[in-house]
Amino acid sequence: MTPITNSKAQIDASLVNAVVSATTNVLRTMASTEAVLKEVKAEKDYRPYGDISAVIGISGDNGEGMFALSFPLELVNLIASRLLGVSPDKISSEDRCDAVGELVNMISGSTKSDLSQQNNTIYKLSLPTVIQGRDHEISSRPKNNPYLVVIFESEGKTFGLQVSFKTY
């Protein structure tokens, strides 16, 4: 994985492709939900997004970083209901947290496999952590390092994936 710079022209295309492909594939396969890419940008730092986020750490020989997947409540309820095959009003807070955690696990896992193959490097993932609340902060995250922000639209709502990787 190469560093993400704060210049749009220098966003790592292989990372963007891997992230977009993993996200659309995970949602389609596991939850029969289509996600459409809306925006790709580089930001100087992480920005709070949505009502609930799942965060997972990634580390490799050449650096470390994180994936943060954030959803509005209404959309995550719908996706969790499709994952579990129940109606959205039956989704508990625990189901919601579990669903977002497992989604970021699968998306980061697929991205990791893609990048490992491309770069011939072994990456490892941490266990996911879930944070809830409007404009929630992620305190344990790469600081002073640019973030790749990928915004998707699904079922008329947007959700975001933010990825940061700091090289040693």
């Binding site: 396969t29 596991m30 994952l83 579990l84 625990e94 189901d95 696990n105 896992g109 496999s113």
Partner: protein, 148 residues
Amino acid sequence: MKFLIADDAGVMRKIISRALIELNALPENIVEAENGKQAVEEAHKHSFSLIFMDWNMPEMLGIDAVAAIRAAGIKSPILMVTTEGEKANVVRAIQTGATNYLVKPFSPDDIKEKITQLIGPIPVQTPQDAALAKAQALDLERGKVTLE
């Protein structure tokens, strides 16, 4: 037939349970574990027709649980169900004792196909059949058979 699902994500345990139930498994015959350590403990307690094993779990990794289960001489088939899709990890899992491998994400048809491939069709079992099997197992543990 009894099944063990080891995954730290409750949502994934529910997805696999649903696939098993749709293939005729009885809910009372599905045991869940939240980490590798619990999985090893459960594998010692019951004889499972199939064990589903995640890789990245707290307490003990799934790959270490597979090694511990095989070291104990337990021969139940183990299906790794994981995001670890790299070829090296697949090879490592099979060498450690996993019977087969399914990379997440998967569709309901993907996992049902793997289950059938590994153990064949699950016979239809009524709750009465399950109760009878449980009673027989209990009596065998006590060293006597008292079924009427």
